[in-house]
């Protein structure tokens, strides 16, 4: 490995890193939003919408992101819907992640025992107060490990963005390997930048899980 080449490549990778992280986190925010909306829809059994959510979740949980992106980026323009690679990446990640987030949040909501609802109602709380002050905080705590796992999973999934010509980390690495055969240096930087992207999230995730549990349940 040539340190000179590595030094030369760092700015190129940094640029790709920023793009990957940016689109990754926009996608994750979108995924969380979709997840919350869809989970509430199924929890409150809103007719038609709840069934639509089930279809969406099954469809996106059982197909790879790469295929979803191909469909959105290459398939949709054929029928006149054209979106830029960046937007496509964020939307694709958001839709995939949304289906995972829905499941995590929904299972948290459904894990709350009926007795909690009954005791809140017998204290005279309204349905709104019950949901906001009793169900939601508990459900969120139960969902946190799932949400953290989803965030890590989605950040890893950003690695397929290169397939739709986004100049992300993978694209950059592949490009440099193809052009200059500096394979080891490129791979080294690829790994380093993914570690920078994910290790803090992984560690913070474990910490957050512990903290939230402690704050909520005191153990």
């Amino acid at each position: 490995m040539d340190p000179e080449i590595i030094r030369e490549y760092i700015p190129i990778f940094t640029q790709a890193f920023i793009l990957t992280v940016k689109i990754g986190w926009i996608g994750i925010a979108l995924a969380f939003l979709i997840g919350v909306l869809c989970a509430f829809t199924t929890y409150f059994k809103i007719p038609v919408a709840a069934a639509a959510v089930r279809c969406y979740v099954e469809l996106f949980r059982n197909t790879p992101l790469l295929v979803q992106l191909f469909f959105i980026y290459y398939g949709l323009p054929a029928v006149g819907i054209r979106i830029s690679a960046e937007v496509c990446g964020a939307i694709g990640l958001g839709l995939l992640g949304g289906s995972y987030m829905t499941e995590s949040i929904r299972s948290g909501l459904e894990a709350i025992p009926v007795i909690q609802t009954e005791s809140a109602l017998s204290l005279g709380m309204t349905n709104g107060q019950l949901f906001r002050d009793v169900i939601l905080p508990q459900a969120f705590t139960i969902s946190v490990p799932g949400i953290v796992a989803n965030v890590i999973f989605l950040l890893k999934e950003t690695s397929v963005f290169s397939a739709i010509s986004l100049m992300d980390l993978m694209f950059t690495a592949k490009d440099l390997i193809g052009l200059y055969y500096n394979t080891m240096e490129s791979l080294f930087l690829l790994v380093i930048f993914y570690v920078i992207m994910l290790l803090p999230v992984s560690l913070a995730g474990t910490l957050i899980e512990k903290k939230v549990r402690y704050r909520m349940f005191g153990d």
Binding site: E118, L121, L123, G124
Partner: protein, 246 residues
């Protein structure tokens, strides 16, 4: 005596199974009524129908002359006046003991935090748990949790308190501490409706005993009379199950 809670011709079915049949009951202010009966006789359902956790099929429940069940649009308002403590520990696990006590007064009755905390501390002190105010439910024993649940119900200053087998899930040595709290409430002339399997407790606390069998009240009598000479064969057989003979 003035009547607080009135149940008229109440019936309840689960599908085809009749759980409660033509229940008529009037409870006076300050009266302590204990409901006994073998498991599955409808005792718990009766309590749950009173505060509208279950819909009823016929009849009505009145609190201070106002309908609670069925179909009251102000059900939450009525529920404020009917406190309930359940068999399983139903405290909110994500809130501390103090927060459990003040949540409903602050949200439902819109009382100030200062005011709610003051009263909560007074009540927690009374049940001997003031020092545990910042603990979480899972750090408490079963008996302690039930005492907090009682405090939480009292915070709403209900006109009637319902107890649904509150000691049934407790270790024997913890039963006493919970029953003492309820006895204390009886001394304060609280109106209470208690479902229990603790016969000696029932004897000690009740002003009136209801014996429920197959969804009907078949005895409504003075405790002394019920425990010494029950009127019906069913009640005699029921009481015999609590005695051990060699």
């Amino acid at each position: 005596m003035e009547s607080v809670l009135k149940i008229e011709h109440m019936s309840k079915k689960f599908d085809d199974l009749i759980v409660l049949e033509d229940i008529n009951l009037s409870i006076d202010k300050g009266e302590v009524v204990v409901i006994v009966g073998s498991s599955g006789c409808g005792k718990s359902t009766l309590l749950r129908c009173i505060n509208g956790l279950e819909d009823i099929d016929e009849g009505q429940v009145l609190l201070d002359g106002e309908t609670v069940n069925p179909g009251n649009r102000n059900l939450t308002k009525s529920r404020e006046k009917i406190g309930m403590v359940f068999q399983s520990y139903d405290l909110f696990p994500h809130k501390t003991i103090l927060e459990n006590a003040i949540l409903a007064p602050m949200k439902v009755q819109k009382r100030s935090r200062k005011d709610a905390v003051e009263e909560a501390m007074r009540l927690l002190d009374r049940v001997g748990l003031a020092e545990r105010k910042d603990s979480y439910p899972r750090q408490l024993s079963g008996g302690q949790k039930q005492r907090v649940a009682i405090v939480r119900a009292l915070m709403m200053d209900p006109e009637v308190l319902l107890f649904d087998e509150v000691t049934a899930a407790l270790d024997p040595e913890m039963v006493r501490e919970v029953l003492d709290v309820i006895l204390d409430l009886a001394k304060q002339k609280r109106t209470m409706l208690i479902v229990t399997h603790e016969m000696s407790f029932a004897k000690a606390i009740a002003d009136r005993i209801l014996f429920l069998d197959d969804g009907r009240i078949i005895e409504d009598s003075d405790p002394k009379e019920f425990f010494t000479s029950p009127a019906t064969e069913r009640a005699k057989r029921f009481l015999r199950t609590f005695e051990y003979e060699k």
